[in-house]
């Protein structure tokens, strides 16, 4: 079920009414869990079964860690094996299947059966990180594992978040699950702006810009100019799509009485790559920082071997961003994109530019922003490319001379990007300089509703991050 489809809103209206009619917290959680599994298994029921089995496994392992602390490492190892094994299989099997089939043929076994396509469960990457974060915190002793399977299962499968985050930490979500919840009209007043903005960004902006992006990226070999314009358009598309989804997810969670984490904080205003990752997909960044970056850096700093300072500064971000790239997808483009940011963060640190740098003048701020924005757009050019070969061919050919047709299309792409980014820029300025409950804000939301009515289709392309 997609958040922009009528079926989902009918489902959610029903869930909302029944949920708030239930007084007892335990039954509320049980009902919400049932709704979450229904949501997740709507199209492919066996996915709900897979989710259930892996959730049960982690629940039992976390309880075992609590009851037998001496064997924590064993149970944590098992959890890692199960979670990473499932993730690796579903996410990366297709990437390697051709090579595996060739190897099988070489060894004399028929390799054709290995060429079957494995279907990636939606949201697998997201709820796997949620579960891993929980298990790691329990293993470290920084989190008391919940004794209620329903509560833990709801934490993992909470349907507003299950397919594309935010990746809320157990310390944020579990206490809310374990607390009594009563309907408060403030939930509605806080959620409706998020829902409108989310739908507006997704249906009006992201889906409209997607058309020209898909066209440009479907070409055999676009020129550098076309690639630049396509990347610029994609920069807008992915922000609108993903932040739009997050707004809807947060709005839905609020209506159910849950406060969830903001995931985007004007990422394209970042002045450094570190700052960008503090603003983009914030919950993922925090996860990577706490479970990959800090442990690596700690090990390097505490190690008996005296590592050189440049290695201590560069290795953690490079490894962290490499993992981030792997997490985003099974493809060389994602890996290169991750490494690209790792190298960028390292480079900024090596030359002494901190994440929270504040240039002394407006001009320097402008220069820093322009440079970082170019880095961001270049990064998205890599991310969106259909393959690394495709991208490299464009750069090797160095086609600066453009034909009239390419110039025309490049201008169309630029016009689309300017037009559809304008509402977001207006909103950002309105938020900064006007009161949040001003009449102009109200007019903005009203226009957003009209725009949604004009742009909504009965069938809408799915969120970009759906398949991660």
């Amino acid at each position: 079920m997609s958040f922009t489809g009528l079926a989902f809103w009918v489902f959610f209206a029903f869930v909302l009414i029944v949920y708030w009619s239930i007084r007892e917290r335990r039954w509320q959680n049980a009902f919400l869990l049932l709704a979450s599994y229904l949501f997740y298994g709507w199209v492919t029921p066996w996915l709900a079964f897979l989710l259930g089995i892996s959730t049960l496994a982690d629940f039992l392992l976390s309880r075992s860690m609590h009851e037998k602390p001496a064997r924590t490492r064993l149970f944590m190892g098992l959890s890692l094996l199960i979670n990473l094994g499932v993730l690796a299989f579903f996410k990366y099997y297709n990437f390697f299947s051709l090579d595996l089939a060739k190897l099988a043929d070489t060894l004399g076994f028929g390799g054709d059966f290995l060429l079957v396509k494995v279907f990636l469960p939606a949201g697998l990457s997201f709820f796997t990180l949620k579960k891993l974060g929980y298990m790691i915190d329990v293993s470290r002793g920084t989190l008391q594992p919940t004794s209620t399977l329903v509560d833990f299962a709801l934490y993992v499968a909470f349907f507003p978040q299950i397919v594309a985050g935010p990746i809320d930490r157990p310390q944020k979500l579990l206490p809310q699950i374990e607390s009594q919840r009563k309907w408060n009209t403030q939930y509605f007043f806080n959620s409706w702006p998020l829902l409108i903005m989310g739908l507006f960004k997704k249906v009006v902006i992201a889906d409209s810009v997607k058309v020209i992006v898909d066209h440009i990226y479907s070409l055999n070999q676009p020129t550098l100019l076309l690639l630049s314009m396509g990347a610029l358009a994609f920069t807008l598309q992915i922000l609108a799509d993903f932040s739009g989804y997050t707004d809807i997810a947060r709005g839905l969670a609020l209506l159910l009485g849950f406060d969830t984490t903001e995931n985007f904080n004007f990422p394209y205003l970042a002045l450094t790559p570190g700052d960008f990752w503090n603003r983009w997909h914030i919950t993922l960044s925090i996860w990577l920082r706490d479970y990959i970056f800090f442990p690596i850096r700690r090990e390097l700093m505490r190690s008996r071997i005296k590592f050189p300072q440049w290695l201590v500064l560069t290795l953690p971000p490079i490894v962290t961003m490499f993992v981030s790239g792997l997490w985003h997808g099974a493809g060389w483009t994602y890996i290169v994109w991750g490494l690209y940011y790792g190298v960028l963060i390292s480079a900024y640190q090596l030359i002494g530019i901190r994440n929270d740098v504040k240039p002394k003048s407006y001009i320097m701020t402008g220069v820093a922003w322009a440079i970082m924005f170019c880095f961001i757009v270049f990064g998205w050019a890599i991310f969106r490319a259909p393959s690394l070969n495709w991208l490299l061919n464009i750069f090797w050919s160095l086609q600066f001379n453009t034909k009239p047709d390419e110039n025309t299309i490049a201008l169309i792409a630029l016009a689309i990007t300017i037009f559809y980014s304008t509402p977001l820029i207006i909103k950002m300025l309105a938020d900064r300089y006007l009161a949040r409950d001003s009449f102009l804000h109200a007019v903005y939301y009203a226009l957003a509703v009209l725009a949604i009515a004009v742009y909504i289709n009965s069938s809408s392309p799915d969120f970009i991050y759906f398949k991660f």
Partner: protein, 340 residues
């Protein structure tokens, strides 16, 4: 609460302004009619061609016909004069309109009407009727085509959409608003900066995004995604779909005008082998064949023809040059026994 009230006031005010604009300047009555409004300007070029040239056979289809049949060669093989109406991006709704509002108004309609389709296309009235396809439909639709509006548009909407179409002005006029916005966004910069107005821009897009410039795998995935609609459980339920499609009307129009209808099921690479086809698709074809034969129409099924190899295809739907010649020969051989 105050902010919500401000928002609702702004929303109501904007809607009232919208409604007043439509009432005063566009003279449109309220509530609106669900579905698009068509005028009575209908293209008659096929009718004119038939009146002038008297073809005995008319072929109708989309780009699969355009890329799949050499109509000159076919005409020579069958000794028939052929009119080839291959409209890329068309579906059964447009074919119905062309038959009803153009071909059948000719003084001497053809003896044979050959429809080229794939899988459940003949019973998919909601396929290729919205957005950019609406323009094509508009060229052949009349204001009196209530059946068209009902089956191609209203039947595809849920009750909420129908209400929004009738009572919510922005939703009702959404295609017009979007095409106007698209016009200004798409053509403004090229016109002012490159002196390349609408026609020039459209030609640039057609040249640049022609299939020879596209990555084959991406093109293939896009084609598959565009056709997903035809393979849903609902679409493959023949008995449910046929009565709400235009197929019965096409059969009726042909029968009343003494035209032999021939339906040609094309092969595609969506399911490269018969064993990969879902059971619902197989039973759909069985039902379709029975229905056509019961209504004295000829059904030619090439979907799993062993002479049509996969290497005759340029992409999952369209033949390459060699495939076009091979299929034309095959079609001629198959059609010949059915011609009087």
């Amino acid at each position: 609460m105050k902010f919500l009230l401000k928002f609702l006031s702004a929303l109501i005010l904007l809607n009232i302004l919208f409604y007043l604009y439509l009432l005063v300047y566009k003279n449109i009555s309220y509530p609106f009619q669900a579905g698009p409004q068509f005028d009575d300007n209908i293209r008659t070029n096929y009718q004119d061609y038939i009146n002038e040239n008297h073809p005995s056979m008319v072929l109708i289809g989309d780009s699969m016909l355009q890329r799949g049949v050499n109509s000159d060669k076919l005409g020579q093989e069958l000794n028939q004069k052929i009119l080839n109406i291959a409209l890329p991006g068309s579906g059964s709704t447009l074919w119905y309109l062309i038959i009803k509002n153009d071909i059948l108004l000719a003084s001497t309609p053809p003896a044979y009407l050959v429809l080229f389709f794939r899988d459940s296309e003949l019973t998919a009235p909601g396929l290729r009727v919205q957005g950019q396809y609406l323009e094509q439909i508009d060229e052949f639709a009349a204001s009196s085509d209530r059946l068209l509006i009902q089956r191609a548009y209203i039947n595809q909407m849920n009750p909420m959409e129908i209400m929004a179409e009738k009572y919510f002005p922005p939703y009702s006029l959404r295609w017009k608003i979007r095409s106007t916005l698209d016009y200004y966004i798409r053509y403004s910069l090229p016109t002012y900066i490159l002196a390349c107005p609408q026609t020039c821009t459209n030609q640039a897009m057609a040249r640049l995004f022609g299939e020879n410039n596209l990555e084959p795998k991406i093109l293939s995935n896009a084609i598959d995604a565009g056709d997903d609609f035809l393979y849903t459980n609902k679409a493959l339920n023949f008995n449910q779909q046929v009565e709400i499609s235009f197929l019965p009307e096409i059969i009726r129009l042909c029968r009343e005008n003494h035209i032999q209808l021939i339906a040609v099921q094309m092969k595609t690479l969506r399911f490269p082998k018969a064993s990969l086809e879902p059971p619902t698709l197989k039973s759909y074809r069985v039902d379709l064949k029975e229905y056509l034969q019961k209504n004295n129409s000829i059904y030619l099924d090439f979907s799993n023809d062993s002479y049509i190899h996969n290497n005759l295809f340029f992409d999952p739907l369209h033949f390459n040059d060699e495939g076009k010649e091979v299929f034309t020969d095959l079609l001629a051989k198959t059609l010949r026994p059915h011609l009087r």
